[in-house]
Subunit: 331 residues, 2 copies
């Protein structure tokens, strides 16, 4: 590949001048500008990123660490983050930690070796040694969706309280009193926030405060299925079920169908935190609180770029949208 030396030679200037032209320094004459740009175009010159990064001590690369890009939330977030980053001249390197702290640490080492300018982190659990090292090294970091104890970085995530409030309002409008709530793990900040918001808001929305109607799973279908079974085993008869995330709602639906049969199950309304494409096809259709993963990804990148630029960044709770698919609702 052509180097800047080739460009300079062809343009008949020194490499310093060529560099100034190509990086847009104002200290250049129109004449050398013209000749350098022409030479660069003729040679198809593309600057060597590693060399530039070495000299400038910045890479214009961001690291994105998620648990699993296959989840719709993260794939949407990753798409938005990549678009936003590229619009600002940054590149994104992607890694999955699969909810495994050891893998997360391995990835952080790779990121450190690449000398990323900033980190978009969806925490995989408690703080790890590598993460502490990066924080100590003053790497700009923003957190996505989940917080993490002892890490003082801005958090860009779903407005869990607001989303739960939307669901509660809908349950009230639909006249439900006996509502089963299947939560997620308390160890996830998302699980805890949704749970707390539900407990805090249910009474004001005319919903039974019987704790027999409440149980928690692990944010996965199987755990939620077991939780729903435990609730039904207590002899309560909910008219609606609120799942704290998409997989949870799915698991709860399985348990209800299995225990009560398809017929009776179709008379129970489900509402879910997290909207999932196929909720529209259920009978009855499932209404849902939709996360704005795109908004979170964009806001996260913007916050991170602000930190990189030496500015500040504040946590943001990105509002959810409620998708009402109940009978009476407008299409």
């Amino acid at each position: 590949m052509a180097t800047i030396k080739d460009v300079a030679a062809r343009a008949g200037v020194a490499v310093g001048t060529a560099s100034r032209v190509l990086s847009g320094s104002p200290q250049t004459s129109p004449d050398s500008r013209r000749r350098v740009l022409a030479a660069a175009a003729e040679l198809g010159y593309i600057a060597n990123g590693p060399a530039r990064s070495l000299r400038r001590a910045r890479t214009d690369v961001l690291g994105l660490l998620v648990s699993d890009i296959r989840s719709p939330f993260f794939s949407e977030l990753a798409h938005a983050a990549e678009q936003e980053a590229r619009a600002h001249g940054y590149t994104v390197i992607l890694a999955n930690a699969n909810e495994d702290a050891a893998q997360a640490d391995a990835v952080l080492d790779v990121f450190a070796a690449q000398r990323i300018d900033g980190l978009l982190l969806s925490p995989q659990g408690p703080k790890t040694p590598r993460l502490e090292a990066l924080i100590a090294a003053n790497l700009p970091i923003v957190l996505l969706n989940r917080s993490i104890d002892g890490v003082d970085a801005p958090l860009y995530g779903t407005d869990n309280a607001g989303g739960v409030a939307q669901a509660l309002a809908w349950l009230q409008r639909r006249g439900h009193r006996d509502v089963a709530f299947i939560g997620g793990p308390e160890s996830f900040s998302t699980g805890a926030e949704r749970h707390d918001a539900y407990l805090a808001g249910r009474e004001a929305h005319g919903i039974s405060t019987d704790d027999a109607l409440i149980d928690a799973g692990d944010f996965l279908a199987d755990g939620a299925e077991a939780a729903m079974r435990r609730i039904l085993d207590r002899g309560v008869t909910p008219t609606a079920v609120f799942g704290a995330n998409g997989q949870t709602t799915l698991g709860a639906m399985r348990a209800v169908r299995e225990r009560l049969g398809a017929e009776a199950a179709s008379r129970i309304e489900f509402v879910s935190f997290d909207d999932v494409e196929w909720f529209a096809f259920m009978s009855p259709p499932v209404s849902a609180v939709r996360n704005d993963a795109t908004g979170i990804g964009r806001a996260g990148v913007r916050g991170l770029l602000s930190l990189i630029g030496g500015g500040t960044a504040a946590s943001e709770r990105i509002p959810t949208t409620f998708v009402d698919r109940s009978e009476g609702a407008a299409a």
Copy 2:
């Protein structure tokens, strides 16, 4: 951050020796090995990737260019590719082109600037100038799922013919004669291959060869819905519908429900190329040809690494799995 100079100083050796130890050269004494490794550990030394890349003229970075990471197929593929690459010491940078050739070209420039060692490319359309430049520069490239005219790179993709054969066999087992087929754009190699395989195989599987039953959309729900309506407008009455991808099947279902009503629609069986999570919840459930996106991603990375290593790589068609969700099928 600590540099190799710091490590060498602390270990009391020259930088050359430190470098040899850290990069595992055999030309080192046990004594200096011990001291350098200890110094590196104490300083938390992590080699500067850009500096190393500059000198070695390789980055250990792969570029992954897809149309949209939000599609389940690509997010699964990206997950697998990232895992496989990391297992071999490579990092993946991600970019979405959104089916837009201009964006794809912009991304290729970024990749070139990053001096990626290899490119995993899901083509966005015909060959572009930047792509030609990269090919001319001898960048190792593999294609994912779609081929592209005039590019002689190994292709890792779904076995479209095999998948269609699985669907045809299922249609035959279920005794369908009047089958509607909604294809995709002929300009996509996937669309063309599935279409061709269907035409070539239908007669042998006892399926009507009436071309009134065939139409094509754009691989998106709306286009497929329109195509399905056109078929129904021709007065034919299919007992089953075969959608050439997930969105296509979804669109066809919408058209059928709208035209025939939910009742009649539930007597039509759907089969789809591409399996989608919620097909299990349809009534009746939708059977599907499942792409092995993970297999494609892994095979693609392995092929690319072989090319990077100076070896060869051959195109592979990754087999599909048929997910039979029809009444009689075993769970």
